[in-house]
């Protein structure tokens, strides 16, 4: 006996073994269809008695195992059912012959046999035969089950007769010696008349009867017989059979204690009526009594003649603890015989099943440990696989999942052992998958995303490597890619540098054939392998959504005050709302993206690999809005530090977009990495509103760009800077080209200017433009250009720097301090003192230190397209820097009475501080040529006038102004008045032809103030004569304050 049946369990001792086999050519499908139907008849209540017969069917049974049938009768093939195809009557004799030959194989042990013939019709089929049944086809055979039942009943009759025959053997009769195949030669020449020999024969026979009783459904009787057998065999030290008797005892007790069965899957049929063990015992009483009266048998148990036979029988049965002890004993006896290895192994397996039910895992593991070391003859590879699988299953049964996994893995490796001609990679892979739970490994990368991996990394890695290899050999590269990327993703921390290299290299070679995808792979057996995004290649630490550049940032037009508040709640403030809003804000970012414009997300990534990592096709994963992602490719140096990567894309529709993650292709594996699943990522919001498309405006100017950038006070960012150099008083035109470079029409444009806070006092309009001209070309279609001309006019007060003004008292005009001028002086004086280090005379005209800079920002607010409808606009800023050089100064001012009393002469000493020759004109006619650095006096005849007649500045302004401001305003207004009367202009002659500076653009403005009612009142006013201050000179009719005008 060499082939162990690992599926055996204790209950199998009570079954009758029937072999069902095909004869001739029967298709497997048809055979198993009939086999299944036959198998359904697995237990039968025998006619009149209440006993139940259990049948075990096998379609394959090694004849050498059959030889052990005397040792344990359930190993004996007692029935044979043969299934055959027979189409014509002429094949029939041949078929029948085959049936007989088949019978020969198990001939010695068969009680009965049957032949099921399919396909044959006609007169042969008409003949009624007991051992042959005819069916027209495999589909049309309704009587199969009935036929099998009849067959089993006939088996029962034989069994019962045998049992009775043996049981009633008198002790005086000659009892034949039963023996197992390997014993036969040992007994040659033995004295058959010795007491010892007789006892041995009796013991073995008793044990045999016990087996038969058990099979015949007489549990109690079998127990009694087994007990007797144990006594007899123990006395003669017949260990092999003693072991068998003990095992029989155990089996019977197990059947008694565990009617549900120990085998697991076939347990349901064991207890048909739900009868309790006690009832089952009662049922067997009739049979039991027969044995109990047997006088020679009863030496120990249950012999009490009349008193409760019940108690005696209950005692016969072993307690659950005893079962294990007896099993142990039996196995130790089996262990003495090398040839009984299979019996020992099967006994171990049976004991383990019993222990598993008793939940005594430790002892079960000892039995299994023993089973592992039972050395059978050289096993075939297939048997080895089977053996390891069964060991694994048994370990699983007792809850030793790790051990189970270990053996399953060994079995898997056995499937592909080098000695096997055709390695079963598929089976190997399947078995390996089954080991996963034992190694606490799930193939879902999500389970590994929580913090550091904790487990048996070395063992798990080995398993994953084996999975990769097996799946590759199976010819399923998609699977191996999946497993390999899983290995890389989850075990990265445990891989050595060399291993990282090897793994990635093999991954690359696999993906070249079959790129890794993000699809769920479902295996035929239902297991599904979730996709493995390689979130650690590279590791992303920080995700930040970037605002649009300042010039493209959309702004919301100011809506009615409190509109959004009133929509939500009638209360101006509620802590509840504030709270909920705070939560919203935590994910939502307070800037907007614009449909159709490129948006950016910045990731901080690093490469944990010891070599350069190439990430291809890296793009954003978004939801909520149709988004066109523009993937990037990057190459990260080995073990890089944090590395910024900007991913871009264009939202195609409007709404709320949330950035859920990013996708990459690394080593040919596509990964969709969701931010939610990434551990340790810093993310300040990933949801942004996308507003409708807006036009884009590009501006270009006639002036050169400037490297000098303005530092605006707050918030504004300036896209373009231009600079220009002008002489004081000069006017220059700045031509701004406005081009719509977007795709939406530009409908609205607003231009505002802001002069950056400067200490300089600025006179007149610095920047002026006529928007109407530009607006006339609106709406500006994409690609169209509009122009806007901005006049730059600089009028600054340079006088304080130039100590050129002298007081005019030598002209006989009395000059005295003028209170109204005091603000000027006060402002000016400290500046002069601070500049004291600068010797006035040393400073040459045109020296750069004399230039003053003016800075202004031109703001273009524009809108159009759908974004305009939604109330958004964009702002573009142009920074303008104007460097102003001094041009013409008035160094002295005085008046002379003219011939007409209504007029007077205004005398001006004019100084040219430029390096060019310039001409000066007043009131459009009197032209004066001034060379560089030259000072000349010019006289202008002007009408006298009285400031009293001059209208006051608008009252409403004055209401808010302090008297001082009021006075300044008035002073300015008067200055303008005088300017307009005098109309003094200069131009640089050499620039005339160039036209770059408008010859008439220079304005020299004079500002006058007047005190007193009479225009003729002499000595009434005085210029401030302190050096460095602006000069207020007194003319006869008016009091002049001569400053380059505002």
């Amino acid at each position: 006996m060499s082939v162990p049946d690992y599926m055996q369990c204790a209950e199998d001792h009570q079954t009758l073994l029937v072999v069902v086999q095909p004869v001739g050519v029967v298709s497997e499908e048809n055979f198993f269809r009939i086999y299944k139907r036959i198998c359904s008849v697995s237990q039968i209540s025998v006619r009149d008695s209440q006993r139940v017969l259990y049948i075990r069917y096998r379609h394959h049974y090694p004849p050498e195992n059959n030889e052990w049938g005397d040792f344990q009768t359930h190993r004996k093939v007692v029935g044979l059912v043969t299934i055959t195809d027979c189409c014509s009557a002429k094949d029939w004799p041949q078929t029948f012959e085959k049936f007989h030959m088949q019978k020969e194989i198990y001939g010695s042990t068969l009680y009965d046999s049957r032949l099921f013939v399919f396909g044959l019709q006609g007169e042969i089929a008409e003949q009624p035969r007991t051992d042959v049944a005819f069916y027209p086809s495999y589909e049309d055979c309704p009587g199969v089950e009935k036929r099998v039942e009849d067959f089993i009943e006939s088996l029962f009759i034989v069994l019962e007769s045998k049992r009775l025959d043996r049981a009633t053997d008198k002790s005086g009769d000659k009892v034949p010696l039963l023996c197992v195949p390997f014993e036969k030669k040992d007994f040659v020449g033995l004295d058959t008349d010795s007491r010892h020999y007789k006892k041995r024969c009796q013991g073995r026979m008793r044990k045999h009867v016990g087996d038969l009783c058990l099979q015949a459904g007489m549990l109690q009787d079998s127990l009694v017989h087994y007990h007797m057998a144990v006594e007899l065999l123990r006395a003669v030290n017949d260990f092999l059979w003693l072991g068998a008797a003990l095992e029989g005892l155990c089996s019977a007790s197990v059947i008694y204690h565990y009617p549900g069965g120990t085998g697991g899957k076939n347990g349901a049929r064991r207890c048909p009526g739900g009868s309790l063990p006690a009832e089952a015992a009662n049922r067997h009483r009739p049979g039991a009594q027969e044995v109990l009266i047997d006088p020679g048998a009863l030496t120990t148990n249950g012999i009490n003649p009349d008193t409760s036979a019940e108690i005696g029988r209950a005692k016969n049965c072993l307690s659950p603890e005893d079962i294990i002890d007896k099993y142990k004993e039996a196995i130790s006896y089996y262990g003495k015989y090398k040839n009984a290895g299979v019996i020992e192994l099967e006994a171990c397996v049976k004991a383990v099943r019993v222990l598993a039910i008793q939940k005594r895992s430790m002892e079960a593991s000892e039995f299994l440990q023993n089973a592992v070391y039972i050395n059978l003859r050289q096993l075939s590879e297939e048997e080895k696989i089977q053996r390891y699988s069964v060991l694994s299953e048994l370990y699983e049964l007792i809850g030793f999942r790790r051990k189970s996994a270990f053996f399953k893995r060994v079995a898997a490796m056995q499937c592909v052992a080098p000695s096997i001609a055709e390695p079963g990679w598929r089976a190997c892979y399947k078995l390996l998958l089954e080991t996963l739970p034992g190694y606490s490994l799930s193939l879902d990368p999500q389970d590994f995303s929580k913090g550091t991996h904790r487990g048996w990394a070395a063992v798990q890695m080995r398993l994953l490597h084996e999975l990769v290899y097996a799946s590759r050999r199976m010819g399923n590269p998609a699977l191996s890619v999946r497993h390999l990327s899983f290995l890389l993703q989850t075990m990265l921390d445990f891989l050595s540098d060399q291993e990282k290299k090897d793994v990635t290299q093999s991954l690359e070679s696999y993906t070249s054939k079959c790129p890794g995808t993000m699809e769920l792979i479902t295996l035929p057996d239902g297991l599904s392998l979730p996709p493995v995004p390689l979130t650690k290649l590279p590791i992303v630490r920080h995700v930040k959504l970037l605002n649009l550049p300042a010039s493209l940032r959309p702004q919301k037009m100011k809506s009615l005050l409190g509109q959004n508040v009133s929509a939500k709640s009638p209360f101006i403030y509620s802590p509840i709302i504030a709270h909920s809003r705070g939560e919203e804000r935590s994910k939502k970012i307070d800037f907007q993206w614009v449909q159709g414009d490129v948006c950016e997300v910045q990731l901080m990534v690093y490469n944990p690999m010891p070599f350069e990592l190439r990430v291809e096709n890296m793009g954003l994963l978004t939801s909520g809005v149709e988004f066109e992602s523009l993937p990037a490719a990057l190459s990260l140096p080995a073990e890089s530090g944090l590395y910024p990567v900007t991913l871009v894309g264009v939202p195609q529709t409007t709404g709320t977009i949330s950035v859920n993650g990013y996708h990459t292709t690394v080593f040919g594996v596509f990964s969709d990495c969701l931010l939610d699943n990434l551990p340790g990522i810093k993310n300040n919001g990933s949801t942004v509103e996308v507003i409708p498309a807006l036009p884009r405006l590009q501006i270009s100017t006639s002036l050169p760009r400037s490297a000098h950038s303005l530092q605006p006070a707050s918030g504004d960012e300036i896209s373009t800077h231009v600079s220009v150099q002008l002489y004081n008083g000069e006017t220059q035109q700045l031509v701004i080209k406005l081009e719509n470079i977007g795709v939406e029409p530009l409908e609205k444009l607003e231009v505002t200017s802001k002069v950056l806070t400067s200490k300089e006092k600025l006179y007149g309009d610095f920047l002026s433009w006529k928007l109407e001209e530009a607006l006339a070309q609106f709406p500006l279609q994409p690609g169209q250009v509009a122009t806007l001309t901005v006049n730059i006019q600089v009028k600054l007060d340079f006088s304080c720097q130039e100590n050129l003004l002298q007081d005019l008292s030598d002209d006989g005009i009395s000059v005295s301090g003028f209170p109204l001028c005091s603000p000027f002086r006060q402002v000016v004086r400290p500046r002069v003192e601070s500049k004291g280090a600068n010797p006035p005379e040393g400073s040459k005209p045109g020296d750069p230190s004399h230039t003053k800079a003016l800075e202004a920002i031109l703001n273009f607010k524009y809108s159009g397209g759908p974004g305009h409808v939604e109330g958004y606009y964009r702002e573009l800023s142009l920074g303008l820097r104007v460097e102003v050089e001094p041009s013409v100064f008035f160094t002295r001012v005085s008046t002379l009475p003219a011939t007409s009393t209504r007029q007077c002469h205004l005398l001006l000493d004019v100084f040219n501080s430029t390096e060019h020759e310039l001409s000066l004109s007043a009131r459009g006619n009197e032209e004066l040529i001034l060379h560089a650095g030259e000072c000349q006096r010019m006289a202008i005849q002007v009408d006298k006038f009285n400031f009293e007649s001059f209208p006051e500045s608008p009252g409403e302004k004055g209401q808010f102004a302090t008297p001082k401001q009021l006075e300044e305003q008035r002073q300015e207004a008067r200055g303008l008045e005088i300017n307009s009367k005098l109309g003094i202009r200069w131009r640089i002659i050499s620039f005339h032809g160039r036209g770059s500076r408008c010859p008439c653009s220079g304005f020299l403005t004079m500002e006058g103030t007047h005190e007193g009612s009479s225009a003729h009142k002499p000595h009434s006013n005085a210029p401030c004569n302190s050096p460095g201050s602006s000069v207020h000179c007194l003319a006869l009719p008016v009091h002049w304050s001569l400053t380059p005008g505002r």
Partner: protein, 139 residues
């Protein structure tokens, strides 16, 4: 004397594992891993035994052809597993016990280190050298 020493966390993952024939490390990994079944079983069998009276030493977990595997479990369910060459018959139960006690003391020292994060792999040099001493002693 010991060929492999392992410290296993409460959640049954290794905190420390070292074996002497380094070339076949994986074998010992498997051995220790499967021994956890027995440890689990023994712990659950002890059940609700009084905590302070419980025997920490679990005894022989299982013998293999070449090795014997012994176990020890602390009150905080940290397991120590030691694999010993089965040819070394001089080794008595008492000696195994004392080795485990030494191991436990050293482990306690590791845990006392304020910079050690419970649950991380043990990288203490003192612990390592103690294990080394246990491994060399006889063989």
């Amino acid at each position: 004397m010991a060929v492999c020493v392992a410290v296993i966390a409460k959640e049954n993952y290794p905190l420390y594992i070292r074996s002497v024939p380094t070339e076949n490390e994986l074998k010992f990994h498997y051995m220790v891993h499967t021994s956890l079944d027995v440890v689990d079983e023994k712990i659950s069998a002890m059940g609700k035994a009084l905590v302070d009276q419980r025997e920490l030493y679990l005894g022989l977990l299982y013998p293999t052809e070449d090795y014997k595997v012994y176990g020890y479990v602390t009150n905080s369910k940290v397991k120590f597993v030691m694999v010993v060459d089965s040819s070394n018959t001089a080794l008595r139960d008492n000696e195994i016990r004392s080795m485990f006690r030494k191991l436990h003391n050293s482990y306690t020292d590791v845990m006392c280190n304020p910079f050690y994060n419970p649950g991380d792999r043990i990288q203490s040099r003192a612990f390592d050298s103690m294990v080394t001493s246990m491994m060399i002693q006889v063989c």
